[in-house]
Amino acid sequence: MLPESIELLAFAAASLVFALAFAPALAPRRALAVQGGAGLAGTAAVAAAPAFDLAVLGLMLLAVLQAAVGGKRTFAACLKAPGVAVALLALAALFARAEGPDLLQRFAAVGLAAGLAAAVGLLPYLHTFDPEEPIAASPVAWLAYIGPVVAAVIVADAHGLLTADAGAAFGAVLIGFGLVNMAWGSVGAWLTENTGAAWRYSFAADWGLALSGFGITLADGRRAALLVLFTVVLGRLPLYLVSGRSGKAPVTDRPINLLVAAALAGSAPFAGFAARVLLLRGATQLFWPLALVLALGMLLWLPGSLRLGRSLGIPRRRQAVGVALVLAANVAAGLYPLPLLAAAGL
């Protein structure tokens, strides 16, 4: 198993513990523990799969198991995007392995990137979303719990399947998807009416940064992607859980709301800031106009983050402890990210 995947699994396990300890009890905690544990085990199986085909089969089984969890969406609706993801990944593997013109490898690169986006639930394959749905059955589970490990596995396997030229094309497609998700996600988080939907768009925006990091085929890009995924799993997801998700909490402008907004926007000294610095450095090394576009895109985080921070209301008791822990962890990772990066072999 990749060190990066092991670390992301550990993040996911920590977020599950956080959900059990600090999130408002919208569903029985025992059910959440069982479903979250099963999801974690399935994700670990995908990460540990010794061959790409086995990982894709594991992904399919995980999708069906998640669709079987009771939610607001129909069983078939839950499986649309994951089904497409599995089909795209399988087709990409076929194109990568077949003999023929170089164009086949390019198609494989596009298929792998599109399959990754569909599996996680990013544009242009956003999963249908209902803010009232339990977290275990929600697309947010793909965005912030299962998705990071799946993405790390697909990116690692892609480098084994594709030739060097096609690998570069894969990176370029990932950057393209990343920019689209950054722009659409951050504007959506700012302007959409429903606060729950705004949270979902904010996850997509963060994923835009992560995809761009994966696409920048330099060490700084991978480091940035890992830190962004840290902020998704141990920053945005816990805050989303604490927020009550539906946006029914009264909007407040206390210092805690501004702190949360700063953490969500990737301001210093939070982990998101270190991720953005690494991403801009990697982009500058690769192709400096890309850094300019990324920097402009990062400005779009501010309005949406302020909105989401204010929507948190005033956390009390257990939720307040949870928010404090999340902020502390993100500050620690922002000030000294080296142990996280070293543990992932980056």
């Binding site: 085909d53 009771g70 078939a76 087709l91 077949a98």
Partner: protein
């Protein structure tokens, strides 16, 4: 000749899955698709791999035969776009798999490409749990068959896993519980 016939059977099976809304049609499509994919996989999979694919497909087909919307419901009213999809998808897969791609295993490439593409489309467009489950089960068998093109040494495990996943996908309940 056997491989070419198996490839055609696989396409016929997946076309039935795309064109049917009833449990009998879906079950027959599942069985034919798995049989065809096992046939094209035989040179790479050897008997044990092919048996795993057929067994997984048979279990999935048996489950679909006993649960789901009643009857055959093959090509119900309004299914012309699906018919066009099956024919066009099959022709495209045949052209890419046999003419664009080179080397041996053309039937395997055609069968895997047509089954993966058409089951993916069915999963995207399906509104019924039994339809989507059947499409995903056949997709799992196709993923297993596609491993025959890979140079790795875990190929037998992939066939076994594909058969198990195909069986599991159709036997899993479509809802465990209704949460608030």
């Amino acid at each position: 000749m056997v491989e070419a016939a198996s490839g055609f059977v696989a396409w016929l099976g997946v076309s039935l899955v795309v064109l049917s809304d009833g449990r009998r049609g879906l079950a027959l499509g599942m069985a034919l698709g798995a049989l065809g994919l096992a046939g094209v996989s035989l040179p790479a999979a050897e008997p044990i791999g092919a048996i795993a694919l057929v067994a997984g497909g048979a279990v999935a087909a048996a489950r679909r035969f006993t649960a789901g919307p009643a009857g055959w419901a093959v090509m119900p009213a309004g299914s012309t776009p699906r018919l066009v999809l099956c024919v066009a998808g099959g022709l495209l897969a045949l052209w890419v798999g046999v003419a664009v791609m080179t080397g041996s295993g053309g039937a395997l490439r055609f069968a895997v490409m047509s089954v993966v593409g058409l089951t993916g489309a069915r999963a995207l467009a399906g509104e019924n749990a039994s339809v989507v489950q059947t499409a995903l089960a056949l997709l799992a068998v196709a993923i297993g068959a596609g491993a025959g093109l890979a140079p790795h040494t875990l190929i037998v495990w992939t066939y076994l896993a594909a058969g198990l996943v195909a069986a599991a996908v159709t036997w899993l309940p479509d809802r465990v519980q209704r949460a608030a």
